[in-house]
Amino acid sequence: MMSSLAVDVPYWGQSLLRVLGGLVAVLLPAGTIVYLFLFKMMSFMQSRLGPMEAGPYGSMQLLAEVGKWLQKEDLAPEHADVRIFRMAPLIVLVSTFLLVVIIPFGPDAYFTNFETGIFFGLAVSSISVLGILIAGWASANKYSLLGGLRAAGQLIAYELPLVLATLGVVIQAGTMNLQGIVVAQNTGEMFGFEWLGNPFIFTQFLGFVIFMIAVQAELTQPPFDMPIAESELVSGYMTEYSGFRFLIFFIAEFATAGVFALIASVLFLGGWGVPFEWFGWDNIDDVANWMNLAGPLIMFTKMLVLTFIIMWVRFSYPRFREDQLQTFAWKVLIPLALFNTAITAILKVAI
């Protein structure tokens, strides 16, 4: 990460910078998504203006909300298992922070460059299931328990299509390294036509659709919000949480939306890169240093586009019934994803 800077940063400095970078990479998308989409776009789609009082066009509303939550009492139910009850939101948030670690934002701007980055990402994304299950169980509340169990069932069911949809990309790129996937897309060509590179959204469109649907379910966003169904389960596993612990769940939900959108843009939209053909680069070592600054902006834009789609679907569709939700995962998405993987593998070998 530091090699592009002229100065030699000591290890503790690098760690500090990484922590700050991680905070920015998690909180900035979360804040943007909440203000831009949850507050404003949702309001516009319902023909109202949304928050307008706090700051210009209500842009400081989020700060007001955070301030409100921080002031609230940190409650725990009498019969709850208090220690793990308090731990649960942090576990959910940790999975978000572990996820953001693998995302490359530029040729040198990454936190870590795992050889099997996407494998790690899919593994740590399941940690949030544990946090949610713990939250549901430790609340000592039947609604929370039902919500937690529903969430666990749903998240496990939709993890599979998520992994299988990713598999197509991995087969096509020939690597699990996210930098490798970015390079593969930007140096690739479609039918000998190099100008656009080869973003996998074209060749893996089915995979992209399955990935986005699975992400929607992983985030427990409508139409897959059975676990937090506020009208029947009173927000499910979040029922008993108040104050900053609820805030952490809230941040984790939208930060994870941002992070998954970042991962999707790496996997399917070409990540931080522009087609290397444009500037005559051949491989990742050729890429100019200014891409370390432009890359994060490109990623942010792509993240906004993808979260726009996620939120658009969220605000438009009613909720699935529990059995429909499971049927959709097991009988539609997984067979489709398997089919996609098989076709990709066959084409990869054949061509």
């Binding site: 516009f44 789609m45 023909s47 203006l49 658009w312 438009s316 569709y317």
Partner: protein
């Protein structure tokens, strides 16, 4: 035919968003601009004190028991010269607790002497809940805001 419906739904929300951005929202920004409530909306109940005979019908019919009436009997001067002084009910207290009131309007309906009226005023929230108890002076002030009764329909006149 599920798919077209799904796409159509996305179109509806996107269209509404475009309409809101270009033509403005269907809602108004309340404290800055206000909508005039319909003339017969149930905002607050006004008391015409002169018509009240402290008969207690409203207090007894109130489902929330939010009307408090106290009165005493007193002698009023006779209607005609040389007549006997009349005994009338004098209203000492007439309170409506709007913290309890559920705006059902039964008291207005039941009043036999046209002492209670609906007014469309709605901005009387208070920081302290006790201040929502409006006494007869305050209820009398609301009479200013009671709109004129609409014309009776043809054939509805008293015979």
């Amino acid at each position: 035919m599920k798919i077209p419906g799904l796409i159509k739904g996305l179109g509806v929300t996107l269209g509404t968003m475009a309409d809101t951005v270009t033509k403005g929202a269907a809602t108004v920004q309340y404290p800055h601009e206000k909508e005039t409530p319909p003339i017969r909306s149930r905002g607050v109940i006004a008391l015409h004190e002169g018509n009240c005979t402290a008969c207690m019908l409203c207090a007894r019919s109130c489902p929330d028991w939010c009307i408090y009436i106290e009165g005493h009997k007193q002698l009023a001067p006779p209607r005609r010269a040389g007549g006997k002084p009349r005994q009338v009910n004098h209203l000492d207290r007439f309170d409506i607790d709007y913290a309890l009131c559920m705006y059902c309007g039964i008291c207005v309906e039941v009043c036999p002497f046209d002492a209670l009226f609906w007014s469309p005023e709605y901005e009387y929230s208070e920081p302290r809940i006790a201040d929502l108890l409006h006494d007869k002076n305050k209820l009398g002030e609301w009479m200013q805001t009671v709109p004129e009764a609409p014309e009776l329909e043809v054939g509805a006149q008293k015979k």
